[in-house]
Amino acid sequence: MIQFKDVSFTYGAYEGQLPVPAVDHVSFHIRKGSHVALLGRNGSGKSTIARLMNGLLLPDEGEVFVSGMNTADAHDIVEIRRRCGMVFQNPDNQLIGATVGDDAAFGPCNLGLPVGEVKSRVEESLKRAGLYEMRDRAPSDLSGGQKQKLAIASILAMKPDCIILDEATSMLDPVARREVMALILELKNKHGISIVQITHHMEEAVLADYIYVISDGRVALHGTPADVFDQADRVRAEGLAVPTHIEIAHRIAKAAGAAYHPDEIFTFEGAVAFTRHALRFIEDDQGAMGRAAALSSAGEKSEDSCHVSLSGQGAGCLREEKTDCSAGPAAHCEPVIEVENLSYTYDTHTGEPVAALTDVSLTVGRGEILGIVGHTGSGKSTLIQHMNGIIPSKKNTVRVLGRDLSERRTVRDIRRHVGLLFQYPEDQLFEETVALDIAFAPKQLERNPEEVEKAVLRAARRLGVESVLQRSPFELSGGQRRRVAIAGVLAAEPDIIILDEPAAGLDPAGQDELFADLLTLTSEGATLLIVSHDMETMARLCHRMIVMKDGRVAGDGSPNEITASAEFLESVSLSMPPSKSFLNCFTDRYPALDTSCFTAADAAVKLLLAAGGAAKADEPPAAPPGEVSNGKDKTHARAEFPLNRRTRQP
């Protein structure tokens, strides 16, 4: 279907700019009807490869063939693009029609098809995507997920053989992402359309038939998902993550000295069954148990590349230090934000008032890391915009640092204490240099130039952007721009920092690095509020979580309390963190199993300890009682270690 023959591509080769090599002698062949995932860090060359596939870019060297047609042949280019439709990342920037129906008709009209044919194709493809009822609506009225489904429908109307998704789900929430994936899988399974998917989400990558990991414009790793994720260290070295259940099974296998086949632990159920088996082996065999204890403590330190779980463990140790704060709103910590019976309605353009918040009450304690989770439209963004007065509040509903935000003068004053970072904050950069942009906030505070400069340096250093201070923010990569934007908020040195999806769109390693940097803020007494859809990361990082649903607070408690019931999570459209749902499969075997952990490493240790405990209960004299508690102490010591190491890194 799509064939790359020794393809190279360099940006800027023809425009007299500094050439930037993006694709370096890549060859592969994508078969008809297959589902291929392209993975790799931000800037590894994935998108360039995608654009070479349908002739949006032409190779400098080598050739690309689509169904035997060369993309360099101008004659065939329309046919190639008809066969290989492409869905892009930003839902707002790829819809062309002024209505849903017109957008679906855009492609067929370009092909010059007769009007009747265009109309029937539009109807058919919109029905398939479940958007037919909305055919006369404007694209701006659709949700993000619906926009992406429309983009897919608009391609379907051209009757393609292949759909290329260039991070098409990265700006969506988990529910919308699953819906889009379901549509894609249906197209593949029912209609035999090939799928090429670029993604940072490993739960999407595992759905593919074949994976290519791209690094610096080359194929670094390829194989079936089971084979690729079996090479866990190499996958992590490429900045990617290994699905949690596979990682737990790897660790247990190592501890038990058990052999396995990559296919066997590839599915969640398979990994659970294998782990069950391996743990029973540990229970039975004393020698294995000793090895398990040794491995569960020593295994950590030897594993250099285990950055996926680093930030989580860091939070784990923070969480334990500050248990008094994590007890909930009644904690003895000094409250910094108090919200009482806050309601907010706004008018839509059709004149219907919509209740965005209804009777919301909550308290945030000093030094807390609070997660605000909830589905899209649950009121999270509206809530945080009240916390620095961007949305004015009524009397006595929002108090920050003890001051009521209903007064304008207070709001101006309070903004220097509350840093609010919106989603995709890189869009707000505007100055000529990074340094000037970061200095924007401290300058507004009328500080003297030396103080401003110091604040800029401190913020830049914290986010690792001090080397680009004199460059224009617009020539940086996306990840760096994100960091500059965050530094721009931190430079005002706020006491309370509110972040809306700070890691959205970053690759897994980039996300972990960013969160590790942000966590260091709390060690200096800052309060952190993080808004996110990502339950696993939030459960790992936060002391406490607040769940929003339809503008109300649906849950408020420690990550463990919030994730206690699968039914509750489902009722608020959130998913159970995978490490916890993995452990939940073992509570029948080990009733005393502590399921309150949100990283694969923690989960493996907990399982090993539980298996050790079970063995001890079966045969009391066999295991010395000290060993287990000893092992537990080591767990704690280990939990602290990675964070320290991270923060020491420049």
Binding site: N110, D347, H349, A492
Partner: protein, 264 residues
């Protein structure tokens, strides 16, 4: 968060006015605008008022939406009234220092307010609320098509128009978001001197321009990926044919226009 502005947003519906041909509505709106500007006597104004009320009722658009569409122009209307009231000569009703309020001033002020209101209401109903931006672009393309003989790229122009209109809501949302983000960084757009405010605008406009260019880039690639080729012949999806109601409508509007022009 949805922007509250009405700019470029149509309200879907099936009323008689919704179903009128966009070209007819476009021409009608232009003629009505002319009529509203030229109207002099009270009788003709009354007919225009009746017409406008009838249009509002037939369009079945909620009055609040129409009022909201006038809101941005309220300042202009008030200003016009004020100028008329304060400058007209005539029978003095009230003398405040050097300011005189005259009967004629009040009448002509009221007239100009009504005139502007009719103009805005009619154009909004015909061109914004009941017509999608794409229909307008199509209508323009059709109305401008004679220019093709002068080598004017009519189709490209229409495509440009329709895309510009499609992105109005997106850009409005974006500017709101940027403004909020910069306010969070301590920017203050409400106080301070004019220079300070202009400086403040930079922090909104630069990111807005940069993102618009990026959007334009993205969109161009997305259009290319969907086989768009400039200059190539495309299927014309909306082939509008004039029917009886369109002709009746345009005759009515022309009659109204002539009536105002010649004072009946």
């Amino acid at each position: 968060m949805r922007s509250r502005s009405m700019l470029g947003r149509s309200v879907p519906g099936t009323s008689l006015i919704h179903r009128l041909d966009a070209r007819v509505k476009f021409l009608g709106a232009v003629l009505l605008m002319g009529a509203a500007l030229m109207v002099r006597d009270v009788r003709a104004l009354g007919v225009l008022a009746l017409w406008t009320v009838a249009v509002i009722i037939i369009s079945r658009i909620r009055v609040i939406l129409i009022l909201r569409s006038i809101r941005p122009l309220l300042f202009v209307i008030l200003f016009a009234v004020l100028v008329h009231v304060l400058t007209a000569e005539g029978r003095v009703l009230l003398q405040l220092g050097s300011f005189r309020i005259t009967e004629e001033g009040l009448i002509s002020g009221g007239l100009s307010a009504l005139r502007l209101a009719f103009m805005v209401i009619n154009t909004t109903i015909f061109l914004t609320l009941t017509t999608t931006p794409l229909d307008i672009a199509d209508a323009l393309e059709s109305l401008l098509s004679p220019l093709r003989f002068l080598k004017f790229p009519v189709h490209e122009f229409a495509m440009m128009m329709s895309i510009a209109l499609r992105f109005v809501p997106t850009l409005l949302d974006e500017s709101t978001k940027i403004m909020k983000a910069q306010s969070s960084r301590g920017a203050d757009y409400d106080t301070g001197g004019i220079l300070h405010r202009i400086r403040g605008l930079v922090s909104i406009l630069v990111p807005l321009f940069v993102s618009s260019f990026r959007r334009a880039d993205d969109l161009a690639i997305a259009m290319e990926a969907r086989c768009y080729q400039s200059g190539a012949s495309r299927t014309k999806l909306h082939i509008a044919k004039l029917c009886a109601r369109d002709i009746v409508f345009i005759i009515l509007v022309i009659a109204l226009f002539l009536m105002v022009l010649f004072g009946i």
